[in-house]
């Protein structure tokens, strides 16, 4: 914008840093669940996701070989092995009690239960006893292991196939596609009539539609639920499609009317001189020219329906066949409140489609927002 002569570099820096900070605050929360959803579920619970790339220290316990495996060497009895068993790892410290797993450096020796224990960095341990040890079970070895970062898609496999998110994804699609497309055509015809046709009550109708824009959904739920039960629609997809159509219609008509009324009047008159009927004009002139507005509304409606929980909860059932993703996420929050690996992966599946749509079609979304709100501003 206005880059007047002599803009102070300090100010420019301050602006850049402030924006960086804002962007950080607005992206880090989402980044958090994205990173977490790919982390190993054992690491996820013990360390913050921001440490995901650094190796994590974990307090571990292993059991040494049982005393009867002790062998005699140089007059002493020795039990040896590796704390990681078959696996490999790195020991950063060890201790002799569960409270202090980081007491000793690897490679040093420590006294324990009448023997001396040494654990090397690679996990090799040896316990030497002056006499033959007794007992049936091996000693417990406490150490701090350094785990390399572990990433996995296992969380996604779990949520998609065993937690039902996959099915919910399909259910959400089933709701969203028709609920986005059906209102557009109905609204476009109405918007054309409200823009370019003359009839008594037009102004009143427009005012009513602007009024309906802000009617809280809560008002509609109970009467419609009763109506649906009375006429036998019950909880069905057709019911929710129509409900979303109804709730989206005021915005659709309002947005499209603003756009269609702004089309040059001379183009429409020219078509009339050319002999086009209103029906022709709508199909051959208005619809193609209104594409940007139709796209804006389609995105709005898509995001709104995809992200909706309320309407789905009221008009669809809880069964496997009808539970949408937002509903499933809500259930998981209740039943799996502490299982962050499930929650983060599920949340990410739920938000990825709208985010992709958002980034791909942002232009139209912004245009629609502006058409819908800056009016009068």
């Amino acid at each position: 914008m206005s880059t007047a002569v002599g803009a102070r570099p300090a100010l420019v820096w301050a602006v850049n840093i402030s924006v960086l900070l804002l962007v950080a605050i607005w992206t880090i929360p989402t980044l958090g669940i994205l990173v977490s959803s790919f982390r190993d579920k054992d690491q996820l619970v013990v360390s913050g996701w921001w440490t995901a790339l650094t190796p994590s220290e974990q307090s571990m316990m292993a059991r040494a070989a049982p005393p009867d495996e002790a062998v005699q060497q140089h007059g002493q009895w020795v039990i040896s092995g590796n704390v990681f068993g078959e696996n490999t790892g790195r020991v950063s410290a060890f201790g002799t009690s569960i409270q202090r797993p980081g007491e000793f450096e690897p490679g040093t020796s420590a006294e324990m239960d009448g023997g001396m224990i040494t654990i090397e960095e690679n996990g090799d341990y040896s316990i030497t006893y002056p006499e033959q040890p007794e007992g049936r079970r091996g000693e417990r070895l406490f150490f701090t292991s350094v785990e390399p970062p572990k990433f996995t898609t296992a969380n996604y496999e779990t949520v998609l196939f065993s937690e039902g998110i996959g099915q919910s994804f399909i259910n959400t699609m089933t709701v969203t596609i028709p609920a986005t497309v059906i209102p557009i055509l109905i609204a476009a015809y109405a918007a054309y009539a409200l823009s370019w046709m003359e009839f008594p009550g037009r102004a009143l109708l427009l005012a009513t539609i602007v009024g309906l824009l802000v009617v809280p959904l809560q008002m509609a739920l109970i009467p419609l639920l009763r109506l649906y039960n009375d006429i036998g629609v019950g909880k069905s997809y057709i019911g929710i499609w129509l409900a979303h159509t109804g709730f989206g219609l005021p915005l659709a008509i309002y947005l499209l009317r603003n756009y269609i009324a702004g089309l040059p009047r001379e183009i429409i008159e020219s078509a009339k001189v050319d002999g086009a009927t209103d029906f022709d004009i709508f199909r051959k002139i208005i619809l193609p020219l209104s594409f940007p507005a139709l796209a804006s509304f389609a995105i709005f409606q898509f995001l709104w329906v995809w992200n909706d929980l309320l309407v789905a909860t009221v008009f669809l059932g809880n069964n496997e066949d009808q539970l949408v993703m937002t509903g499933r996420l809500r259930e998981l929050l209740g039943s799996r409140g502490g299982n962050w690996e499930i929650l983060t992966a599920s949340a990410f599946v739920a938000i990825i489609v709208p985010i992709v749509v958002f980034f791909a079609l942002q232009r139209y979304l912004v245009r629609g927002l502006l058409a819908g709100s800056v009016k009068g501003g």
């Binding site: 040059p264 008159e269 009339k272 001189v273 050319d274 002999g275 020219l289």
Partner: protein, 362 residues
């Protein structure tokens, strides 16, 4: 072909009347220009002919048919809009073919007519382009082409040149003149607020003001014998100078008194106007500088505009509310404050009565 006949045509929006009863006959094959200041109702009148605006009162005929209730597409008209009104999502070809397609004309006919029109307007190379890939002048030609393809009895133009820049405007004006020549049978009605367009294009000009016809006539007649003060001052640039005068003598010729000076005009006046106050008018280009104070009007030089080909001099005259403008050929030099005496040939002078009506048109 067909002319247009208006009988007491009226238009009002709600309670505000904008056209107050217009009677006008436009002959078949004529090029008529509606001219008048912005907001006087030119477009409204044209749109009533087109059928884009309903007619509040009176009768409108195109050819023999009363068209008040006929939809635009059945009136045998075509219209060219100021903003071109091209369909932005259709190619030039489709723009021109749209009307015939709607009328379900055979493909071959459409093709033939569109190609012919494109040929006339040199649009053939652009037929597959979208309007946004054309220049302003080309767009305007497409709009005209669209009208030609309809093969109308009456062409209607609503300020078709006002969105073009000055040079293009002249070029397109000439093209429209040529188009008219090549279609002598078509009636053309052309709306403009630009008097140069009106003067150069029209067979007859209709001067409108505030919803009324002020005068109808060929361009030169309007220039030479304006029917009233409005027309006199609207046609011609700079506008005609008008001053208060008093009639001294009536008769075949009229003598007027302008301040201390007198002038004889070859304009008849009725006897009952003796001593009456009148408006005396003379065009800036009809004034000359008289040698040493022998002119009709003396003025003090205030502003001098040198345009090269002409020089406009604005002079303050005693007791006159407006300065007098003189348009002199070539470059001329004056000093500010200099007193200049102006003269004019008697047959270039105009007289208007109290109500602004020309004495020639009483």
């Amino acid at each position: 072909m067909a002319g247009v006949l208006m009988k007491n045509i009226k238009k009002s929006y709600g309670t505000t009347a904008v056209i107050h009863g217009i009677n006008l006959e436009i002959r078949s094959g004529e090029f008529v220009v509606f001219v008048g200041p912005s907001g006087c109702g030119k477009s409204t009148l044209l749109r009533m002919i087109a059928g884009l605006e309903s007619i509040t009162g009176g009768d409108m005929y195109i050819g023999e048919e009363r068209v008040n209730d006929i939809p635009p597409s059945q009136r045998g008209i075509a219209m060219v809009f100021q903003s071109y009104a091209l369909y932005p999502h259709m190619s030039v070809y489709d723009n021109m073919a749209f009307g015939m397609k709607i009328a379900k004309a055979p493909k071959a006919d459409i093709e033939k007519r569109v190609r012919e029109a494109a040929e006339i307007l040199q649009l053939t190379p652009y037929l597959n382009r979208l309007p946004k890939a054309l220049s302003g002048g080309q767009r305007q030609r497409v709009a005209i082409g669209r009208a030609i393809v309809r093969n109308p009895k009456v062409f209607l133009f609503d300020e078709p040149l006002s969105n073009l820049d000055a040079a293009l405007r002249v070029a397109t004006r000439i093209e429209i003149a040529k188009l008219k020549e090549s279609m002598p049978d078509s009636t053309m009605i052309y709306v403009t607020h630009d008097q140069v367009e009106a003067m150069t294009l029209a067979d007859r000009i209709v001067v409108l003001s505030a919803g009324n016809v002020e005068q109808v006539g060929p361009p030169i007649e309007l220039y030479e014998r304006p029917a009233n003060l409005f027309v006199a001052q609207f046609i011609g640039s700079p506008a005609m100078n008008v001053q208060r005068a008093r009639i001294d003598q009536t008769g075949e010729k009229t003598t007027i008194r302008l301040g201390e000076r007198k002038a004889d005009l070859p304009i008849p006046s009725p006897a009952d106007m003796a001593g009456a106050e009148v408006h005396f008018g003379v065009r800036p280009e009809d004034l000359t500088v008289a040698s040493n104070g022998n002119g009709l009007i003396d003025g003090r030089v205030n502003i001098v505009e040198s345009l090269g080909e002409v020089t406009n001099v604005y002079l303050d005259v005693e007791n006159a509310p407006e300065p007098i403008v003189v348009k002199l050929p070539g470059v001329q030099r004056f000093n500010r404050g200099e007193i200049v005496s102006l003269a004019a040939a008697p047959d270039k002078m105009h007289l208007f009565n109290e109500k602004g009506r020309s004495l020639l048109h009483l």
